[in-house]
Amino acid sequence: MKIEIPEFALVLLVGASGTGKSSFAAKHFLPTEVISSDRMRGWVADDETDQDATGDAFDVLHYVVEKRLKGRRLTVVDATNVQPESRKTLISLARKWHALAVAIVFDLPVELAVARNKERPDRQFGDGPVRRHAQALKRSIGGMNREGIRYVHRLRSVEEVDAVEITRTRLWTDRREETGPFDIIGDIHGCATELETLLGELGYAVAWNGKEVQVTPPEGRRAVFVGDLVDRGPRSPDVLRVAKHMVDSGTGLVVVGNHDDKLKRHLDGRNVKVSHGLGETIEQLAQEPPEFLAEMRQWLGSLISHYVLDGGKLVVAHAGLKEEMQGRASGAVRSFCMYGETTGEIDEFGLPVRWDWAADYKGKAKVVYGHTPVLEANWVNGTICVDTGCVFGGKLTALRYPELELVSVPAERTYYEPIRPLEAPAADTGLGQHQLDIGDVLGKQAIETRLYGFVTVREDNAAAALEVMSRYAVDPRWLIHLPPTMSPAETSVMDGWLERPEEAFAYYGSKGVKTLVAEEKHMGSRALIVLARNQSVAEKRFGVHDGSRGVIVTRTGRRFFNDAAIEAAAMHRLDAAMEASGLWEELGSDWVLWDAEIMPWSMKAGSLVRGQYAAVGSAAIAGLDAASQALAAARARGVAVEDLAEAAATRLDDAVRYRAAYNRYVAPFAGIDDLRIAPFHLLASEGAVHDARDHLWHMAMAHRLAAADPAMLVATDYRQIDLEDPAKVADAIAWWEGMTAAGGEGMVVKPLDFIARGQKGPLQPAIKCRGREYLRIIYGPDYDRPENLSRLKKRGLGHKRSMAMREFALGLEALHRFVEHAPLTRVHQAVFGVLAMETEPVDPRL
């Protein structure tokens, strides 16, 4: 006997003690898939036959079963399961987690079971229980389907049991192997003309031959219809023809819509209310031959609730689908797919109020759906409704996947007046669709990144980051990225130097990188600039409705400028530069994320300069100056203080140089005219994270932007270095020496590729080499005296580099998720991870 079992199901083995259930389970299922009541008894009471432990044992059994079903795992329950009441809890668990319930019934002769138990020393309970089991089974076997068990397989003899072959079948909704590309088409409602036009726009050839239609897609593409093919519109039968033809010829997929289902029930002869445009369809079908009706009745009945596509990354369902129902099967799933969920309230138009499942959506899969007509298709937390109300005079829309481009054709006319006007894009200025849940950030988190696998965020780091994120960071809707920390080079082998470029070059050289880009490091403050072209982009793409069009944040996600007017002015200038340089147009984007350095340093660091650097300088100079004078006086009267006097003079000299070092980066800041911005990474724009572009591209883009507003924007000087060309290397070192001797902070050395890999995985995205005088303000006035330098050179970079790597991976992950329209929570988790990493204590001088 062949038994087919869905790969995700709850399988109940049903039968009296001694009918061979456990042996059967061991033969056909993994040990971890089988949850046995005997084993649970053993776990709670050290005795698999201890009947006193039955209550607790079943508590554990139900708990484990629930956890497995929650994780969408096939689960086999090895217990007698002969009474309806013992099956009831299990069936309700299956229903709760949308698993199909399957029973395999061991309906064997009672005497056989009795005889088997007699042979087993641990089952000396007489034949009473077995006979009672058998009776209970007989009484209830007929009603198992009504209890909620989808498939009942009855085995009537030992031979039958032994002959069983189990095959696991995929759920109908599971089409994960189909990777597209797809064109996902919204609710058509009989608008065949617009469908033909849209298919044409998408590159499909549509040819009618009488009532026969032939649709030829562009190479490799397939259409996916989100349902509601019929009703209200003028040519429902033709729409059915197109859709069925495409399904039959393997060039299309259809999920069922509520109108399609209702039409099917009408065709079945069921008494359905003829409303909401069904009447039009019935009229049109009256012109069709009976064979067509029979064919459609059968075909509509075969439509699936939803499809899980492209390795689980895409879900298509008529009314959308929450994460916990995806790839599962139950009446509730089918109902959700067709109607969504309602709150029970009725709105002013007499229509049910829908629960906005998309507002809470956090799933990994994108969900494309229709059902609720909207004016414009718009992403919400990784979901998009492509029903743009064609039949109501709107338009018919398709989403191209994986391109995520929207293609629409306008309705030729209004075929049907909507009861409720098409919904404008969310006018909601609250957080409706952008709520973040504390459970998604607090506690230990493991965040999967495409660059570096799972990155773990420690619980205490997350706790510390929660404070920063809550009290200081900007609105998380703007916070789509945070930059990684940057490691310095290994300490220099040369006397008198702590850091030099040679070590940075050597790091990359030893990892097989041949070409580097070295960029001047500006002494300013790191900033991220999120710029939307206008307020409406800010609203649509970022969900921010406060009238702003972007934000400039520090590397810890705080607003960069305290003065909103300066931020707005800078935004305005940047937008003008994007326009003038042609970058808006070239990128084909209406928003952009720049990574930049903003100067002067003293603008942000004013309190640090005065409170720490200047204070230390004043203390050092005052004390050493006074000591030098006292020593000079002592020396004048012949006390042997020459060495002391010389040492004090050296230290005083160091202190003076220290004061000069920080003063180089202090400049007055009175307003926008004193502001300098040096962009160096064009991190992302609509549809793209630019991490596949090399640093020459990023520099070229930054230079083009800078050229458009040279008064505010600084073009960063850089060198391309071929490590195999000694002249180039020497030239770059000389360049660094000159720059730092003139007071520059230093330079940043990057591999040519934005993401470079060595044999052991991704490499540091950048290494900094700081100048000798700059390091004075980091390591202290007299850091470069030989006795100090020799000790300072012993520093470990492992922790810093590991953090840089993980932060780089998390930052890019956040950005990719944002660009792919992932739910805000998923973007935020990765950004939060960067911030959490940054709370990890690490030597601040690195």
């Binding site: 309230e345 200025t429 609250g430 957080l431 409706g432 709520q435 973040l436 849940d437 504390i438 459970g439 607090l442 205490d460 706790a463 510390a464 929660l466 404070e467 994120m469 809550s470 009290r471 200081y472 900007v474 609105d475 406060d546 607003r559 005065r610 720490q612 200047a614 204070a615 230390v616 300088g617 004043s618 203390a619 050092a620 005052a622 004390g623 006074a626 000591a627 006292a630 020593l631 006086a633 002592a634 009267r637 012949g638 006390v639 042997a640 040492a647 230290r651 202190a655 003063n663 202090v666 303000i777 980091i778 390591y779 202290g780 007299d782 850091y783 100090n788 000790r791 300072l792 601040p844």
Partner: protein, 468 residues
């Protein structure tokens, strides 16, 4: 740094005998953090000066195993601090003890002495120097040190050059410096333990008991360790009030300093507890509980069976747990209280189901742009039966002495609202989320400016009514 001690006692060179350091030699002592040197820039019969310099190994200070500084570039190597006191103790222990082998009678005698220290941190203002030393009989002269001559607009540094002169015993001068340099620096480099109390009592003998700023000296010397401060105070003075002193209250909080005259915080707690009592609450969540002042009051309230404190800062939350002595609470009391780390801008199911949420002096500590998230989470998601929100009334600031017109009561306040602004906000929140609202105030009411603290009490309207 440099410390000089000068006498004009005749013959001045006797200073060498008193210090037990020959004026023509250089005296060096190695210390764990560097070395101290004593030498004489001048040594005549009329005037003799001993100078002490301290060279601190800055690298070791940060790198060393017993690292005492995490701030990588700091003033410790340069400014007078407890490191100098340690050096004094090592170099001049005998002299500080008032003993002298050859000139004991001179050591017992008040002689004309001058001291100069530079740079000396004067945390707490220049006036503090006068308050510290004048009562001890010194003439005090202070020269400010500018922060950076290139930037006159930056003003002065936290350091000064201090000159003291007076007719005192050398041992007294050394002891005063030993105790008061770290007090002025207010930044001890080592762990302050029980032994420090002993040391303070010993060094302070004969002058600290009656010093008008004794309280400040003790507190700073013992670095605010409440228990130690109490212990020292008790031993210095038997007339110590029995009541427990709020040690954290003395930490210089700008807000408290400004609001202090009217003891606003106490009134606030009292009124909020009364409001909660009036609301007949059984469960209360204190959102932004800080160190748990309100929680402690709520624990006394009969009928409250669930008291939850929520705080975003892990360290503050841990502090609240310590202050409430959660680990030593009897079970029946412990069951009533819970502390959670949480944030007002994240949705949180743990905050559901409370009768009252208290949001006391909290919203002004969050960025205004995050208020919509706070509203959605508290009023939209958690939906307590009532919400009490208090915040400063900005109009009232006009009545606080020494407050600049646009200033706020605390450096961390992101905004403070007038009564009209607060009312507008609260009413729109109430309307959006189905709450009824009334307003109140805490503190004495000024006819023009209103109360110091403004209060909004939101009560959730019946759900059925909201739906209709």
């Amino acid at each position: 740094m440099l410390l000089t001690i000068t006498t004009t006692h005749h013959p001045a060179t006797d200073l060498g005998f008193l210090l037990m350091k020959h004026p023509d030699n250089v005296h060096v002592v190695d210390l764990s953090f560097g070395k101290a040197t004593l030498f004489y820039p001048e040594a005549t019969e009329e005037r003799c000066t001993a100078a002490i310099t301290l060279e601190v190994d800055a690298v070791e200070l940060v790198r060393g195993k017993g690292s005492i500084e995490d701030q990588y570039v700091n003033d410790r190597p340069y400014a007078a601090s407890s490191l100098l006191s340690v050096a004094l103790g090592r170099l001049l222990n005998t002299a500080m003890g008032g003993r002298s082998k050859i000139r004991q009678e001179l050591a017992d005698q008040a002689i004309p002495l001058e001291a100069m220290i530079t740079p000396l941190p004067a945390r707490g203002g220049l006036a503090l120097l006068e308050r510290m030393f004048a009562p001890l009989g010194y003439t005090v002269e202070v020269d400010a040190i500018p922060l950076d001559p290139a930037h006159p607009d930056w003003g002065n540094s936290p350091y000064v050059t201090l000159r003291l002169s007076g007719q005192v015993r050398l041992a007294a001068l050394l002891t005063h410096l030993f105790v008061l340099i770290p007090v002025l620096d207010n930044n001890k480099h080592y762990y302050v333990g029980e032994a420090e109390v002993e040391k303070l009592l010993r060094k302070g003998e004969g002058w600290l008991e009656t010093h008008p700023d004794r309280e400040l000296i003790v507190r700073r010397y013992l670095r605010g360790f409440g228990g130690l401060v109490r212990k020292a105070r008790q031993q210095l003075d038997e007339r110590v009030e029995a009541e427990e002193v709020e040690e954290h209250a003395v930490r210089d909080s700008a807000e408290e300093a400004i609001e202090k005259p009217i003891r606003l915080n106490d009134q606030r707690m009292e009124r909020v507890v009364a409001m909660i009592r009036e609301l007949s609450a059984v469960s209360v969540v204190d959102l932004g509980c800080g160190e748990g002042r309100l929680l402690r009051e709520l624990l006394k309230l009969p009928g409250l069976s669930k008291i939850t404190g929520v705080e975003v800062a892990p360290r503050v939350l841990a502090g609240a747990g310590d202050r409430l002595k959660l680990d030593h609470m009897p079970d029946m009391k412990r069951q009533r209280i819970e502390l959670l780390q949480g944030s007002l801008v994240y949705r949180d199911d743990r905050l559901k189901g409370f009768d009252v949420a208290a949001v006391i002096e909290v919203i002004e500590h969050m960025e205004a742009e995050r208020l919509p998230a706070f509203e959605a989470n508290v009023f939209g998601h958690a939906r307590p039966g009532a919400v009490i929100v208090t915040m400063p009334n900005r109009e009232y600031n006009a009545l606080f002495e020494g407050m600049k017109p646009d200033a706020m009561r605390h450096p961390d306040h992101r905004f403070e609202w007038t009564r009209a602004e607060f009312r507008h906000w609260a009413e729109s929140v109430a309307l959006a989320h189905g709450y009824a609202i009334r307003f109140d105030g805490i503190g004495t009411e000024d006819p023009t400016h209103g109360h110091a603290t403004q209060v909004a009490i939101f009560t959730r309207m019946d759900e059925a009514k909201t739906a209709a």
